[in-house]
């Protein structure tokens, strides 16, 4: 029965392979168990943020004043640089170019990512509050520079460059800043707890 003799080890190998694969998958999830827990908490916080961000409370009462405030402060930066710009509602404009600050350009999503990470991370409330305060203020100020920068890019470069900087610079790079700030905070907290 030579064929059977040949088949047996093959079956054994296949069985071993499937066991290995199963073990690898189990190992993958076991290795990531605390991370998954952290991510679920993080996603939960972000869901709460989005529910608030798109709620009628925020839309009707908070969004417009918040965007207007950002437009006014960003305009101060532009005026300090010598630009003759004016603000009307949430629009910064001059004779040559204008930017309309809308929902999504306010930097709140990046701030929410930073704050959610801090809230879920196991640390004392005092350290969390300090992180939220410093990080939140830093991100808020950076977003004002971003808005002013977008006006300048729109003024001096083509609409294509503006669009790229709007999405890449706006969402991706700005979010990356909030992630790095979160890492800096976690490192700082770890050092503090070691001390």
């Amino acid at each position: 029965m030579p064929p059977n003799k040949k088949k047996r080890p093959k079956k054994g190998k296949q069985k071993n392979r499937s066991i290995n694969l199963k073990q690898q998958v189990n190992q993958f999830f076991q290795d990531r168990h605390p991370i998954l827990k952290f991510l679920l908490g993080f996603i939960g916080c972000m869901v709460l943020f989005y529910l608030f961000y798109y709620s009628s409370l925020y839309k009707n009462y908070l969004e417009v004043p918040f965007l207007e405030m950002q437009a006014r402060i960003s305009n101060v930066f532009l005026m300090l640089l010598g630009h003759d710009t004016v603000v009307s509602n949430a629009i910064i404009s001059s004779n040559q170019f204008s930017v309309n600050i809308k929902n999504g350009c306010d930097g709140l999503e990046a701030i929410a990512i930073f704050v959610s990470g801090i809230l879920i991370f196991p640390a004392s409330m005092k350290l969390k509050l300090r992180g939220i305060l410093w990080g939140g203020i830093t991100l808020f100020i950076l977003n004002l520079f971003r808005i002013a920068g977008l006006y300048l890019i729109g003024l001096y470069f083509s609409p294509t460059v503006f669009e790229i900087m709007h999405v890449q610079g706006g969402f991706i790079i700005f979010t990356m800043i909030s992630v790095i700030l979160l890492f800096v905070w976690i490192n700082w907290v770890s050092k503090k707890s070691q001390q």
């Binding site: 290795d31 990531r32 991370i35 999504g104 999503e109 990512i113 999405v167 969402f171 991706i172 790095i180």
Partner: protein, 219 residues
């Protein structure tokens, strides 16, 4: 704190360089068009399978690799118009299709490059990076296909198109999910995929430290 901040700034600098370089390369029309084609081909087949009542084609707009144009028509209407043409002795039927455009960069490419930069800059072995890039691409791709599916489903239910007549409850859920799937959510999905693929029980503390310190220590 100063040393952490300095290392973080360095990490950010490397991220900007890598992500900026990849973005610039992706903006070369031939590269963008190739990425667009690679994305469209499987997506078209998946969406055609999901929307059996519609003739659906995903096309590239000439000289603009950023755009994917979804052209569609109801199979029922096409059949009816073909039949009408045949009965009136015409050899060809003129069928009016509809279309809508999707920004390929905002949907997929920019955010996938973000994921690539994150994984490449993570302190992992080459094999782990390769696995992360592949699994990450599949997961993010499926997310974008789901987003396109919801957008098309919503579109196909509009009264003037009416290829599908989905129940109002299901349609409301689909439209609500779609409403939340913004550019901000794309970034969030990328971050979650990255963290899930890269961080582990035994490495996450080291990972955080090495992410902010690696370039300083590499010297």
């Amino acid at each position: 704190m100063q040393s952490i901040a300095k290392a973080a700034l360095k990490y950010f600098g490397f991220f900007i360089l890598l992500y900026g370089a990849m973005t610039l390369v992706s903006l070369i029309p031939s590269v963008g068009a190739a990425c667009n084609t690679v994305y469209r081909t499987p997506t078209e087949s998946i969406l055609q399978a999901l929307f059996s009542k519609a003739y659906l084609q995903l096309k590239e707009v000439e000289d603009n690799p950023n755009i994917i144009r979804a052209e569609f028509a109801s199979k029922e209407i096409v059949k009816q118009q073909t039949e009408d043409a045949r009965l009136s002795g015409k050899t060809k039927a003129s069928i009016q299709g509809k279309d809508f455009e999707i920004s390929f960069y905002n949907l997929f490419l920019s955010f996938y490059l973000f994921l690539v930069a994150l994984i490449l800059l993570s302190p992992l072995t080459k094999k782990e990076k390769a696995v992360g890039l592949f699994v990450g691409m599949v997961l993010y791709y499926l997310y974008t296909v789901f987003k396109m599916y919801l957008a098309l489903l919503s579109h196909f239910n509009e009264p003037e198109i009416a290829i599908y007549h989905t129940g109002s409850g299901t349609l409301n859920v689909a439209q609500s999910i779609l409403f939340f799937m913004t550019l901000g959510t794309n970034v969030l999905v990328v971050l979650v995929i990255w963290a899930w693929l890269v961080f582990r029980k035994n490495n996450w503390k080291d990972m955080l430290i090495s992410t902010t310190y690696r370039f300083r220590n590499a010297k």
